[in-house]
Amino acid sequence: MEEIRGQNTYQIELFERLRRSVSLKKAEECFGCIIKPAFWWIIDKPNPKTKEIEDLLKQSYHSIKKIFTDKSGECLNTLAETLKKSAEHKKLLSFDCMEDFHGFVFPIAQGDKIYGYIGACYSRKEISSEALQIFPAFADTIVKEVQKEIELSKLYETLRPRAIALSTVHTVHRLISSTLDLGELLPRIARLSLQIMRAQRCSVKLVDSKRKLLLPKVTVDLRAKKIRLKKVKVGMWAPGKAFKYGRPVRARDYLATPLIDEDIIGVITLYDKIDKKPFTAFDQEIMSTMAEQAVIAIKNAQLYKEQERLTMGTIKALAKVLDTRAPGTYVPRVSSVKIAQCIGQEQMMDADSLKSLEYASVLHDAGEVFVPKAVLAKPTKLTGKEYKMVKAHPAAGVEIIKHIKALKGVTPIIMYHHENYDGSGYPKGLKKDQIPLGARIMAIVSAFEAMISKKPYRAAKSINEAVMEVSRNSGTQFDPKVVDSFLNVMRRKDIKDAVKRDQRESNYIR
């Protein structure tokens, strides 16, 4: 088939697809048997010029190894006139020309618009009226099929990238809303933004509203080994401008997107795409959606941190109140909290359990407030009644905190931190794994803390002596696995230094 190329993109695609259409080829073969044309052709212009028609005919004749001669111009005139009439009436028209040759022209139209023509020439047989009736139905179906194909491919091209982008935003939402730790969240936002935008550098800055500054919280740069974190004044550079105007600031090599909640809480800025292409309006749209997700996650993490601070503040206030009764008894050593946390980490405790362990480090002996001071400080052996009072202190501690929902995870640690691994402890006489892990850790930490503290009735043990004492009681009083973790932790220089510092600072009697 020969053709004249059109200009319009839709037209080009329509005719390219028609030329490749298997259905059209089959229709040509089928009708070829009936009308026996020498050649079929497609014209992909609604109003081809005479020269273009001539070229088409020359090429068509050439394809059947004949030379096109039309000195009188009869052939050209006939075809041009038939094309015109066929476009006018929007229907198939047959024609006769030259030495008893026959042909037809079928307009390819959509509504009122003519895109081009399918035709056949050089048939020695007159085209029957049946063939003239059937072909338009076939051709129409084939053209419609091709037009539908184009529509579908356009839909696919526009919808699929958006659907994939939407799916990405959904995944990002899940990834960033799964952590409440700001220290983990901000780098994650930066890395995911880098990935989505295929950029080289991303910085997340949060607002310091008092000083009207954007403070750098995290910068990820795929190229640089060392990163300098810079503060940015409002209105300065891309992040400062995005903050000032409350809208994204985009240029060829950067895209700054404000994190907007009720106020602007920060700015995410991306620099330099990997493929060196400019940031686009679509990138801006995606980053704005990403920023909406990020701001929710950041606010949640900030609120959670605030809530944690509030809980810890309440616990410390409670410890201070208790401490007025027996100074130095309830405010824990910094090193004890650290030791408990490190053992918990060695034992692969999750973040919530570690937090409970931290709270329990402060509150584990809160129940002693109900035990008379004289009993706690008694240098000689306790009577049965006195021992019963001491044994009741874990349950009493649980009574104090049981109404604070945030301390739910702390209650088993307080309740069972005087249980012994061999079942000889109190209040329930639990043994081995029956004792919650947090309580098994707290048992060691509180015993160690007591041993290195000076009491009214005995001198303080040295750190090494206390460590050896804990080790001696492995498998009886203490869980051997937790003792191993304790020994590992106590080998660390930073922990030893912290314990020594605490010993120097606490001159009070414990």
Binding site: P161, I164, S167, V172, R174, L175, T179, R198, L222
Partner: protein
């Protein structure tokens, strides 16, 4: 890393083709399975294999893992060469 081995014809090539065409995408195994019309379990396994070859990056969280395409231009160019030779 043997890229030839890593990109065995089949599901892995389909996944890499998807991420190569959509380099900004980060998706879960369920998402990727839907885009390439394959079984989620097989996709999950292939995603991990491709991550271990550094062709994909895994963004892990407690609730899910998102996978995205490598940012290494050299590796991407080698992948392109191989994909041209070897259609999915």
């Amino acid at each position: 890393m043997d890229l030839n081995k890593a990109l065995k014809p089949g599901i892995r090539t389909k996944i890499v083709n998807f991420f190569h065409e959509n380099q900004s995408s980060i998706d879960t195994p369920r998402g990727v399975a839907a885009w390439i019309d394959e079984d989620r379990g097989k996709v999950k396994k292939a995603l991990e294999e491709l991550t271990s070859c550094n062709i994909l990056i895994a963004h892990r969280s407690t609730s899910t893992t998102g996978y995205s395409y490598t940012r290494d231009p050299k590796l991407i160019s080698n992948i392109v060469k191989l994909l041209k030779k070897r259609p999915a």
